[in-house]
Subunit: 153 residues, 3 copies
């Protein structure tokens, strides 16, 4: 069934990555009742960050959109470590942190990179509540970090 999700993403040119290994004392995703909570995901592909630095400074908004998209794909891969993606009945919340300096104001455009992945994967069930904010810095120097909460059935 999760094949449907993979196919939908492929139609948009998106590929689900292998989930990153659980690290130390925290894990990629936790299932609690009917919800799956996903750890903050970085724009990491094959162990390397796609871009490095603050958005609007070292990283362009266009590149940051690609980063947000990759974070979101990594988040879906993380869901897959504790639940079938086909069991997702609703994307509940997406949190997007954008590494940025004072004066930056394009958070919504960057965050759309993540939101669009949810719609590509789940259609109407992918429509979610969202908080996009600016971070003074992010782990490993990443430009974007994305958190995810989904309801599973």
């Amino acid at each position: 069934m999760s094949q449907v999700i993979t196919t939908r993403l492929a139609e948009k040119g998106l590929t689900l990555p292998s989930p990153a290994a659980a690290v130390a004392n925290y894990v990629s995703a936790v299932r609690s009742g009917t919800h799956v909570w996903v750890s903050g995901q970085l724009p990491m592909r094959d162990g390397e960050l796609l871009s490095l630095g603050a958005v609007g400074a070292e990283v362009s908004v266009a590149d940051a959109v690609r980063c947000a998209e990759l974070c979101a794909l990594n988040a879906l891969a993380a869901v897959g470590t504790v639940a079938e993606l086909s069991s997702v009945v609703r994307v509940v919340r997406v949190g997007v942190f954008v590494s940025s300096r004072p004066g930056f104001d394009q958070h919504a455009i960057v965050a759309n990179g993540a939101s669009d992945v949810m719609i590509a994967a789940f259609g109407d069930a992918g429509r979610h509540a969202r908080a996009a904010t600016g971070a003074s810095s992010l782990p490993l120097g990443a430009p974007v970090e994305v958190e995810l909460l989904v309801e599973v059935g």
Copy 2:
């Protein structure tokens, strides 16, 4: 029944705004089980930000309190798009992001602007867990952003 909430707010001189229209791939609020998750709300009134810039820099703490209040009212209006306000049995969490520079330390005062709205609306059921933090920047240059989670019955 939601009339009660409106009246309580009016007694404090507060008016519930019309909810902002759902935008693109994310929505103002999602109901999942017995909870309503509200997207990060900005201090937007009639399509314009109440203030612009960082708190403690371009925006005074007093003005930021008004912004937090408006964000909170917008958050309640967003709850109303997916549930009756009178069905709220508990305000669970309020997240307050304060756009600020290094050295700013008045987050709690700003966040009280949002917290007070919850008590005005719901009395004891409005008492919530809260996280107030500093953001390097916020969408559209807003000084404050408020997220909300409520339990509905």
Copy 3:
């Protein structure tokens, strides 16, 4: 039963503080259904912050780890105000905000201070989803703030 948790922590040299009093219109923790939501906790001991300033600037990473540890202990004490610690069946999410300047990239190391407390207290049930991000400033000038969500049975 919560004695077990206290003992486990003591074996690691960790002591559960007295919970901070609930302040004004928000509270230390809210129970909603089978979950306990804890307010953002600061590295406060006996009414004073352990350190003051940004991590990587005024505060060393090593000191910030101790701060994260203290925040996490305060968070567990807050859980105890609304539920027995022995009723915790899973630590669901830990949110770690690190006060920092552009270029800081050691968030994961700081956040481990909080994550390790959860494992010390709950063993495997302490493994959680986590988001670690950089804040431009934090309440009272704190270097670290930790939010907590646990499932209780």
